[in-house]
Symmetry: C2
DNA sequence: TCAAAAGTGTTATCCTTACACCCATGT
DNA sequence: ACATGGGTGTAAGGATAACACTTTTGA
């Protein structure tokens, strides 16, 4: 009723005050290959769609769109960020995007749709430090970032750019911090070292070095999701959303390593998990591991209730 | 143009896919009395307004509305949460609210508007543990929460409610966790111990115990802001946004204590701040402190660049 | 027998917490 | 003198990181 009155009285005003709201999802799973994102073929792009009247809530709207486009049902969902689309500033239409992070297991995939999963390191090759610092990071990204820094007009900016690059990428003996995924992407964007920044694939370094691009700003949203997940696994037991109901401790460790993009020390990881009482033995063992049979564990759902903030801190291992 | 065509061609569709987007701000400052929120008289309510075409971005829209309604310019801003307004589900109009946390100094207030600041403990009296556990929490809230738990139909729910209350409020020798502000409010809402939950002021406990109410769901948004801020001061140096350019270490400590709602151990706090190199001496001293003159410090803005994640962890002090 | 993974134990180090104590100023 | 806040030092306890080592399976 407010609305129809508004339309009549101030037509221009009523229309300008309305926007289109898009829901967009970073859906993550972990398989043998590594950490994966759910994408739709065209773009590639993240699954997304407009928030409609039929949706009971933002979350249910998101679930509906993802299931429709990929056949993938979603479990854990959390909001990432809401932004007014920079690319689409135009006088008549405004679009705001509400992005979400969703965690799921890949075998959940139903019949409909053909979900396509891609390792998220296809999009961010410099983020995977499980086998040491990637060559391409030091050999391609680093010189190009330094070149970009050197191109600045004044010395202060040059110095600032160098420092920012060093902090984000861990140059000059600074430690690598896996949580800075978004800052790193933004830096590469600013330096025009990713395709999206220029629109010209040739301006960026070799495709393998700068990673696969995505449509619009979807790669940036993916970076936001990765960063959020990497920091969250350290203080909330969210990894278990990505695991099968039962798992071995090494499988759990491999999953955390896949997400964090770095290796963890085995004894320390086990102690941490056990002493926090995050898991309990099922009594069974798994033989498919190639070595001595491993005890199977399951997540103790009770910790979610018992503790307000139970973490899966990941003990760092220096190389 | 797209839009008018849309209206003509698919009137229903075009309208259903458009929503009104509201921007809403939790603006925080710290003064002698304690931590304060900026409110507008009617309600009381948080400053808010629709996102319009004229706004260049969500943030600038927010700044515009807050400044218009209160005369308060904003400094630090961060997004809190976006939600589809539960209270206004109706067939024709959809409203989504994008909420923000803003930090500012109270003396920033310009001439226009008449900003009214209120201690946030007026709205959440049970959140202030600086002088020990509030009486009202143990004497009013606790029995009412236990009563609510006991009213559940089945034993499992009774047990669950009791446990949730105990975790959130630190009953039964559990530790008090100041970060759980939102969970506590939600629990009180669920138990109909806050006015908003019923619409009937008499259903809730005495006004002083359940705290002042706000319009619509604004108190819930405020709880979200407090929770975010309380957890953030532990790993990001955001307190300094609330301080004057120079300050004594005790002033800084009092500010953190005001936000956290609990006391901190002085020597430990100082060591933490100094060893993290968050501040530097100005060389001057302040005499207005009532005792020995205190050294004045200023925030070292350089830490924002140097370190990716510099914190102001607050060492806990048990009573 | 060897490779591969499971699983256990120990130590050095750092950070946190708690507590005790001295210093400088105004009344 | 004493109250008030400013400021420093230290020792105990716990968590973390690093490393060494034994056990159990399949090929």
């Amino acid at each position: 009723m407010d609305q129809t009155k508004g339309l009549r009285k101030h037509r221009a005003n009523a229309t300008t005050n309305k926007v289109k709201a898009d829901l967009i999802a970073v859906v993550v799973a972990v398989n043998e290959i590594g950490p994966c994102v759910l994408t739709i073929a065209k773009g590639p792009a993240l699954p997304s769609g407009p928030f409609e009247l039929a949706h009971r809530s933002l979350q249910s709207g998101l679930r509906a769109w993802v299931e429709l486009q990929t056949g993938q049902p979603l479990g854990y969902i959390e909001q990432l960020y809401t932004f007014a689309d920079r690319d689409r500033i135009d006088a008549n239409e405004r679009v705001i995007s509400i992005s979400y992070l969703a965690l799921t297991r890949q075998e959940d995939a139903g019949a409909s749709g053909q979900p396509s999963w891609a390792s998220w390191y296809d999009y961010f090759p410099w983020e995977d430090h499980r086998s040491g610092t990637p060559r391409m990071m030091l050999e391609e990204l680093r010189p190009r970032l330094l070149e970009w820094a050197g191109n600045a007009d004044d010395g202060a900016t040059r110095f600032d750019r160098q420092r920012r690059a060093a902090v984000a990428f861990g140059f000059d003996d600074r430690p690598w911090n896996e949580d800075l995924t978004l800052q790193r992407y933004e830096l590469l964007y600013e330096a025009a070292l990713v395709e999206e920044a220029t629109g010209d694939p040739n301006a960026a370094p070799t495709a393998s070095a700068s990673g696969k691009a995505m449509v619009a700003d979807h790669r940036r949203i993916l970076a936001t999701g990765i960063a959020r997940l990497r920091s969250k696994i350290k203080y909330r037991p969210v990894v278990f959303e990505l695991m099968r109901p039962t798992f071995t401790l090494l499988q759990l460790q491999r999953a955390v390593e896949a997400l964090a993009g770095r290796l963890i020390n085995k004894p320390n990881f086990r102690r941490l998990v056990e002493q926090q009482e995050l898991v309990e033995e099922t009594g069974e063992t798994s033989l498919d591991t190639g070595g001595r049979p491993a005890k199977l564990y399951r997540f103790r759902h009770a910790v979610l209730d018992e503790r307000a903030a139970a973490g899966t801190k990941l003990p760092v291992m220096r190389p």
